[in-house]
Symmetry: none
Subunit: 221 residues, 4 copies
């Protein structure tokens, strides 16, 4: 079940094998429940070698987070053509996101669940990645507004909230798509575009929803 036990490999290769194993175990068992023993065994090496190369459980976990965060951001970046209109960029980005998370469920579990649940060295590590994505989405929202020839009078915090909501919805749909058989990445992306972009379109057209009787300002109550 573990990697084929080939002896004497160069360090760089072994390190990747260890990270592969660690992502799998961390993703499935959780950070605390994962044991270094199990990781070493799955990697096909002895425990001391894991410590020699990766230093400690914390460092190993951090290395996993970094590698997988980088891979996810890279996958999304590679899936987006920057010369398209904002909505198309978002659509492509979401597709790449759902594809990558669908193909790497353990990595996604590490980033989305484990890293955020286990406090400070890790939370900020993944928060950096998330902020990068939120910033990207924020830019797309503003670009979309510009493209719709609407001066974005959306206040900054409002846009931040919208981006946050969109990213949160995407994260949530990733789990749902993985868990629901027959839902493809494309379908998940389409669902979210319907939900998000059509809504944003209305906002940009100056037609926000508001609770009726309560004197709504344009965007907040």
């Amino acid at each position: 079940m573990g990697a084929v036990k080939t002896k004497r490999m160069p360090r760089a290769v072994r390190e990747q094998q260890m990270l592969d194993a660690a992502v799998r175990i961390f993703g499935q068992r959780g950070y605390m429940a994962a044991s270094m023993d199990e990781i070493a065994e799955l990697a096909g090496v002895s425990k001391p070698l894991v410590y020699l190369y990766l230093n400690s459980k914390e460092d190993l976990f951090t290395a996993c987070i970094r590698r997988e965060a980088g891979a996810l951001v890279e996958a999304v970046r590679a899936g987006v053509r920057r010369d398209l209109p904002a909505d198309r960029q978002l659509w492509e980005g979401l597709g790449a996101f759902f594809t990558h998370t669908g193909e790497n469920p353990d990595a996604w579990s590490v980033l989305h669940l484990q890293a955020r649940t286990h406090g400070e060295p890790f939370a900020s590590e993944v928060a950096a990645m998330r902020e990068e994505i939120v910033a990207f989405v924020t830019q797309l929202i503003l670009a979309g507004a510009r493209e719709a020839h609407r001066d974005p009078d959306l206040p900054e915090r409002e846009v931040a909230g919208l981006a946050e909501a969109l990213v949160g919805a995407a994260e949530s749909l990733a789990a749902w798509a993985n868990a629901t058989p027959g839902v493809t990445a494309r379908q998940a992306a389409a669902t979210l575009m319907n939900f998000a972009w059509a809504g944003l379109g209305d906002l940009m057209a100056g037609r926000p929803w508001a609770p009726e009787e309560e004197q709504p300002g344009p965007h907040t109550g």
Copy 2:
């Protein structure tokens, strides 16, 4: 710091004290890092008593999840007047949701982070609550469509995905609102209504977003 050490209390009261302590410790430390020692100390009782009443760490955690899931659902239910239009119901429900999670961060951490991160006995426990909420939201979406005099030709899975996305966005915004100083429950709810309902409105009016060249059907590719 722990509960006042009063001896000889009725069982029901002691159990609640223990659950209070457990929710706090689980919420702050995480399921695995929480120790029964610390919980017992914070509850002001001896460890054997915790075991006498709650059986095991797993059972204790499950009891926490059940109690807090019930409390959250109840808070949302109590905040919604069922005779209002769908959008108003959603608005009220979101307000109640953000208020409750904001006031009970440890409980929310238990439900949103800890329970989902630690595998099977627990994940399905909280999934049940989540499905209840998703079902409620699904009803509201269908009701909204009906109210808009649109026969809901939205396919069932599509609606499920939309509800899922909405709930996911709400969960995400709850964390964001808690972490961003100066964002109230009302504001979070307003942001999400703008994002979601306005978008849904367009969907209901038959104007879904679609990637241009790919001739999508009205809701999915």
Copy 3:
């Protein structure tokens, strides 16, 4: 070989058993080579109980040092009658010292060898005891000078050096007496009194020191 395995004893008693075992193991194996497993086994308890009561290997070692340092100082103090002349006080103190170290070789190993060899938390712990003894000896030297009706023109550092040398010689003789069969505490004390109080020069000139009333042979009892 270990303590009789009696179950359920009050904490204070168990702690002493643990310290007994620890002193023995630490004294024989050395601090680092001693294993908590072995100590627990010799004490007749499980390892977690040792940690519950004594916290850590470091704390356990410190507790050993404190207990045995206290016991040694107490033994010396109890062996000295303060109303005698300085040389008699020194004689009695040395006798008590050699008796105690001879009867508790593991404790002496802990204090003299182990504690000083393993760095800072421990070295200063035993240094405090040693300073107490050096101060006592310093007082005796000054008192002896006074009794000899000589204004002690010995400079302070000189006296400190003499006391240091005397204590060092005593420590060294303790090991020698333990290792040389047939050397009693009295004999070790007599040898050291001759050496220190009379001096080699006087010895060679046939003028050994002797406790007054006890009719000693020229060099040893």
Copy 4:
């Protein structure tokens, strides 16, 4: 910080580098806490090379003890002119001893603390050196008695005890001199000569020992 990493040196040289590093690490960390890794690194070689040349940690430590014991004995021997009277020989020997230990604190730590604290292969190794020194001192005492025209009616064991005490005092003063700023090797030697040769009694009577040319007191002739 380690030795300059020059490749391909003759074995003898490399071995000395390794012993240098080992003495330093053993002296500072202690035998058990010293790691072969650290020693190899400080020596500027790979760990397998250390094993190739020195076999094992035990053998390496033994080699350190032997080298440093030899060096210390040699230093003392070289510092003593055998044609002088006994007290002068002792005075010179002590001076050489304090000088050498002061200049090689790690080596002295290895010999005095580490070797004796870690049981059997090592304790007897250093005991051999110590016996050599004790025998030398014993001879000086007997010679001194002869020079004083006293037939030494000192029984053999008594003389052994005196020599033991003198050496123990010297060892103790070595640590004291190293730790007390401003105390030179000469001063330490003088203090000890006063203590040992003159004796406290004489000191109190105002009859200190002194090397001849330097205001000789009544006991050296």
